[in-house]
Amino acid sequence: MIFFATLTVLGVSVALCLVRAIKGPTPFDRILSISSIGTIIAIGISVHGFAFERPDFVDISLMYILLNFLGTIAILRYYKIKRKKSNVL
C-alpha cells in the first residue's frame, strides 16, 4: 500500500515538472524539466516493480537513467554545434 502512495506522489511531481516543460520560457527550462521527469519516472519504475511484486524491473530503470543522461547531453550538443558553426563562418 505504501508503494502506491509513493507512486501517487511521484505522479503529482511528474505533472508539476510537465507544467514547467510546457510553460518554460527558454528551451533550457524545457530540457531541465524533462531530465527531471526522466529521473522521477526511472525511480517510479522501480517503485512500480515493488508495488506489483515484480522487482525485476530495476534493470529498466537503470538503463533509463543512462539513456536520459544521453538524451539530455545530445540535445545540449545542438548548442555546441551552433557555436562551432558561428565561429567558422
Binding site: 511531481s13 533550457f28 529521473t39 525511480i43 539530455t72
Partner: protein, 104 residues
C-alpha cells in the same frame, strides 16, 4: 516483530524521499529563472532518489537485487552534475543572465 520494524523504516524513508521530490518539482515551478531551477532539479536527483532507493534496499533485504538498486544512485551521482553544469554553461553562453544581484 522485526518485519514490522522494517516496514516502519521503509515508510519513513519513503516519506522523506517523497517530500524532497515534491519540493524539488515545486521549486521547478516557483523559482524565477533557469539557473535557480537547476538547484531544484539537483534536489530531485540527489536527495529524493537517494532516500527512495535506500527505502527500497532496506525493504528488499540484502541480495543481488539490492546491489542493482544501489547502482541507481551511483549512476545519478555521476550523471547529475554533468547535466546541471552543461545546462548552466549553455544557458549562460546563449546570453541569459541570472536574476538578482551580481557580486564579483
Amino acid at each position: 516483530m522485526s518485519y514490522n520494524y522494517i516496514e516502519l523504516i521503509t515508510l519513513i524513508l519513503l516519506a522523506i524521499g517523497c517530500f524532497f521530490i515534491l519540493s524539488g518539482s515545486l521549486g521547478l515551478i516557483k523559482l524565477p529563472d533557469v539557473f535557480s531551477r537547476i538547484h531544484a532539479a539537483g534536489l530531485i536527483d540527489t536527495l529524493g532518489s537517494g532516500f527512495i532507493v535506500l527505502a527500497l534496499i532496506i525493504y528488499s533485504g540484502f541480495s543481488l537485487l539490492s546491489l542493482k538498486l544501489l547502482l541507481i544512485p551511483i549512476f545519478l551521482i555521476f550523471t547529475s552534475p554533468v547535466t546541471g553544469h552543461a545546462i548552466a554553461l549553455f544557458a549562460h553562453e546563449s546570453g541569459y543572465k541570472p536574476k538578482g544581484k551580481n557580486k564579483k
